[in-house]
């Protein structure tokens, strides 16, 4: 994967050897992102300047439905991330063992409850994830529509 991770997996080394090289790769990744961001603004302005230049200034401000949609997206995405965090916390307590002894029935029961909790989270996770994605697409579409309308 890019950029590479600098920490090893559990049981392995805390930090991989050649950490400076990996940090360099991360720096390159952010540098490339920054250049892309600058290019995006340039392309946007060049495209807008082919039309009416005055409309560019007004289209940079976030008002009306776009602002409300962004707020809604922020709330939905926060809920989605919180649910994701809760599921990963619950999953970290899940054991990979079979309880054969009847005396350890309470441990098995605990694990069953844990699995039930994790399973119950999957539907809200899917719902908020899809809603977040759809809202993001709507926002992008609306933003493009506004940009094209002012073009």
């Amino acid at each position: 994967m890019f950029p590479p991770r600098i920490t090893g997996s559990l049981g392995g080394p805390l930090v991989y050897p050649g950490v400076l090289k990996r940090l360099g790769s991360i720096a390159l990744f952010y540098l490339a992102l920054g250049v892309c961001g600058a290019l995006l603004v340039l392309v946007y302005y060049v495209a807008a300047s082919l039309g009416r230049v005055a409309s560019v200034e007004s289209s940079m401000t976030l008002t009306g439905p776009l602002l409300y949609l962004l707020i809604a997206w922020g709330i939905v995405t926060s809920i989605f991330l919180l649910l994701l965090l809760r599921r990963s916390l619950l999953a970290s307590h899940e054991d990979d063992q079979i309880f054969l002894d009847a005396a350890e029935e309470h441990l098995a029961k605990e694990q069953r409850e844990l699995v039930a909790k994790i399973t119950s989270l999957s539907r809200p996770l899917l719902g908020t994830g899809i809603l977040s994605g759809v809202l993001l697409l709507v926002i992008a579409g609306l933003w493009l529509h506004q940009g094209l309308a002012n073009f």
Partner: protein
């Protein structure tokens, strides 16, 4: 400290190191961008520098900053979560 607590601590430590590395690298890169912006402003003389008399220089660097911060929020956090989960 039992094994589970040790494991959780190890996972958290890895996630924190991963996020801290991304944050530090991003701060350095943001600083570099700011330096370039400052140099360009000094070279042209004035704060309101515009390319081709139309595109404000500040907007270009703001766009770069925004995309890099979004990169930290997405890829940095993803790497942190993967480090916590102990996955490659």
């Amino acid at each position: 400290m039992d094994t589970r607590s040790k494991n959780t601590f190890g996972r958290l430590l890895r996630a924190v190191i991963e996020l801290a590395a991304h944050a530090v690298v991003l701060i350095v890169v943001l600083g570099l961008f700011r330096l370039v912006q400052f140099a360009l402003e000094c070279f042209w003389g004035g704060k309101d520098v515009r390319f081709f008399d139309r595109i404000p220089l500040r907007y270009i660097f703001d766009g770069a900053d925004l995309i890099m911060l979004l990169g930290l929020l997405s890829v940095g956090v993803y790497n942190g979560v993967q480090a916590y989960r102990g996955k490659e």
